[in-house]
Amino acid sequence: MRLRLLTPFLRTMRNRFFPAGTVPMKSLAVGLFGLLICLVLYLVSLKVVGYFHRQSELGVILSLKIFQMAWIVMFAMLIFSCMVSSVSTLFLSQDNEIIFAAPVTPGEIYFMRYLTTTFYTSWMMAVFSLPVFGAYGKVFQAGVFYWPLLIVCVVATALIASGIGMSLTVVLVRFFPARQTKDIIFYLSLCFGIFIYIIFRLLRPEDLVNPDKYVHFVEYLSSISQPAGPYVPAAWSANLLSLYLMDREIDWLLLALLVVGAPSLFFIGEWAMQRFFLVGYTKSQESFGGFRPFTRTGRYHPGTAQWIFKKESKTFLRDSAEWSQLFMIAALVVVYLYSFKALPVERSPLQTEYVTNLISFLNVGMTGFIITSLAGRFVFPAVGAETAAFWLIQSSPLSVGRFLLYKFLFYLAPFTLLSLLLVVTSDALLKISGPMWWFSVTASLVICWTVVGMAVGFGALYADFKAENRAAALGGMGALLFLFTAMTVVFLIIAGGASPMYHFMRHWMSGREIHLAQRIALLAWFMGSLLLGVLSVGFFWRKGCRSLTG
């Protein structure tokens, strides 16, 4: 009986990936792409873990410490993401009216939501953590039991995280309306993310591999070889697997805790659901808010671009899930720039000026990757963020091309400013001037405009007008393809500039005359980058426009 509510989920999945019982090329491509990412993750992890493992006893302990940290951070992320999702799935889901009006018990609904929410929030973690943890098994030459133990640990950790997250959500919504709870959890998870990020950076992890910082080596060793907290379920998994990796022993108590923990938490959640669900669900329907009138905006002035910009900014600033992300960006900028301030360039065996110029060059690429990921978060979903109201744009005299142009222009200014802020400030901290300063500013502008343009094009091509919010669009295939393609373009622009800039700078720093050929090579790189940018943007814009005008 409990399984009947899962039918829509299972059928939806089947129809999505295997429509009409066939395996379409798209599903195959998605599967192959996922496998490729897993393979890359596995190989990179193999290299990193293998490197640590070869660094005597200290390396082994460090690699296991990272193993434990990965489990705990993953677990915390799963709980927060499950709480945010479960407010939606439990209380705000559109099918609630059908399901709750039917003669099914809250326990039955909880069972269905528990499994589906666990799937939605943890499939990516499960798929992408397996190759990383698998690399540990390979490097430590773990026995055959490592693999079943790993699968049990991943599944149990995901189920326990869901159990905790959903039980807490059901109780929280008992006291706060669902929408407020969602915001509260969202802010909490955001603060948690920012906190972890800043603390991690301010701890200067680079010092961890610098034993000079510790007076006694034993003190250093003991500080990092402590086992993870015994009350955190993720630490049970980490400790169970670490013990097996090191000594080929299975800690049966930890295994039992994991196996019993998941169903126990499920039953606690089910009890909470039966006890509190109706009150919470009632509140979730009352909490519409918005009864506060807004101050009358200025008089109407004709001007489509101006009104598109106004609409974009109002929609962004009135959605707490959107504007609160600005804090995360602020933290990112602070930590990023702090990293430049904390760079120990003076300890380098190479000439300081050479190192700072090299870092400034690489910084253009780093800034490009940051801009790409932020464009993936904000610009890529911007077309889909029109939601079903896009009919208004489609039926209006505004052409889709011009609409995309306005979107592009709206996001261009803040992204250009951010890009310049990162590059110019880090150049100032590195005391960069002369050709490298001009190179970094020019290249970062070309990259920024190209990436924002591509994000708009990809956003149009893969617009998801049904996505609940912009963050939801990030999990889709289109977002992954955008990130992959844009990062390739960024890499090509940077890699293309490496050789001409190296020769140019070598002559400039040694005070020698710069040949005409070197100037031409640099100019050719600039024109080539510009052309690559224009062609990439043009190509995806055309495809995007065609897709929207269908």
Partner: protein, 262 residues
């Protein structure tokens, strides 16, 4: 089925739309004259909304031509859309804008002058939205959202209004107002293309009616000509509709249901 009328506001010739191997709209042709209210009827899944979406420029046809006031949709969609106000059946709007801001936004899309925008006051008053105009749309009811879209459409004062299910979600007072506004709009020489399931509305408002079944235009004409076609003199539109859409089995079903109750 094309009217030889030089003053057509909307001309549709051989309009076709396929989804894979399924033909949703098959060679549909008709025209709507200036000052005319044209009703578009058909059973569920007959191709009404697909046709409407093509007329509003939301879907690209696979064949045929749409001409709005002498402008081709295929070659000059911007001019066509400037002449058309579209009212969809489901009021999806920008939830984080206020009603007033939404109207300003729509006005900007159609490059309305400040004077033209001034007409919203009367429509907001008619639809009892004056007190709600500065509230976020996300707190509007379904009917209020529908009314703000109606306000936007009438504010644009376009020569052609395309409206899909105009009365869904409206209270009786607002429904009455919408009917009068539509009639008034047509009296000024503008045209209305109206799709509805409500046969009473079609009977009351429409000068001519087209009936679409399985993607094909089955019948087209005034109520009188449809009566003649169905060979049902003195019958109302419901009976004509059922006859022309081939719902013969309905009589048997109704008899069976009556039998069950008896």
């Amino acid at each position: 089925m094309k009217r030889d009328d030089e003053t057509s506001a909307l001309d549709v010739a051989g309009l076709t739309k396929r989804f894979g191997s399924y033909t949703a709209v098959d060679e549909v042709s008709f025209s709507v004259g200036r000052g005319e209210i044209f009703g578009f009827l058909g059973p569920n899944g007959a191709g009404k909304t697909t046709t409407i979406k093509m007329l509003a420029g939301l879907l690209k046809p696979d064949g045929g031509a749409i001409t709005i006031c002498d402008h081709q949709m295929a070659t000059d969609p911007t001019a066509c859309k400037k002449l058309t106000a579209y009212i969809p059946d489901r009021p999806y709007l920008y939830e984080k804008l206020t009603g007033y801001e939404f109207l300003q936004f729509v006005a900007s899309l159609y490059s309305l002058s400040r004077e033209q925008f001034g007409s919203i006051e009367q429509y907001l008053q008619l639809f009892d939205l004056l007190d709600w105009q500065h509230h976020l749309i996300e707190c509007y009811s379904h009917g209020m959202k529908q009314k703000i879209i109606m306000t936007a459409a009438f504010m644009l004062d376009c020569p052609l209004i395309i409206v899909d299910e105009p009365m869904v979600g409206l209270d009786p007072k607002s429904a009455r107002i919408v009917k009068e506004l539509l009639k008034n709009h047509a009296r000024k020489g503008n045209s209305i293309f109206l799709s509805t399931h409500s046969l009473e509305i079609a009977e009351e408002l429409c000068d001519r009616i087209g009936i679409i079944v399985h993607g094909e235009l089955r019948s087209l004409g005034t109520l009188e000509s449809l009566r003649r076609e169905a060979q049902l003199d003195n019958s109302d539109l419901e009976e004509i509709f059922l006859e022309l859409t081939g719902a013969d089995e309905l009589t048997a079903i109704i008899s069976a249901l009556k039998g069950d109750n008896g």
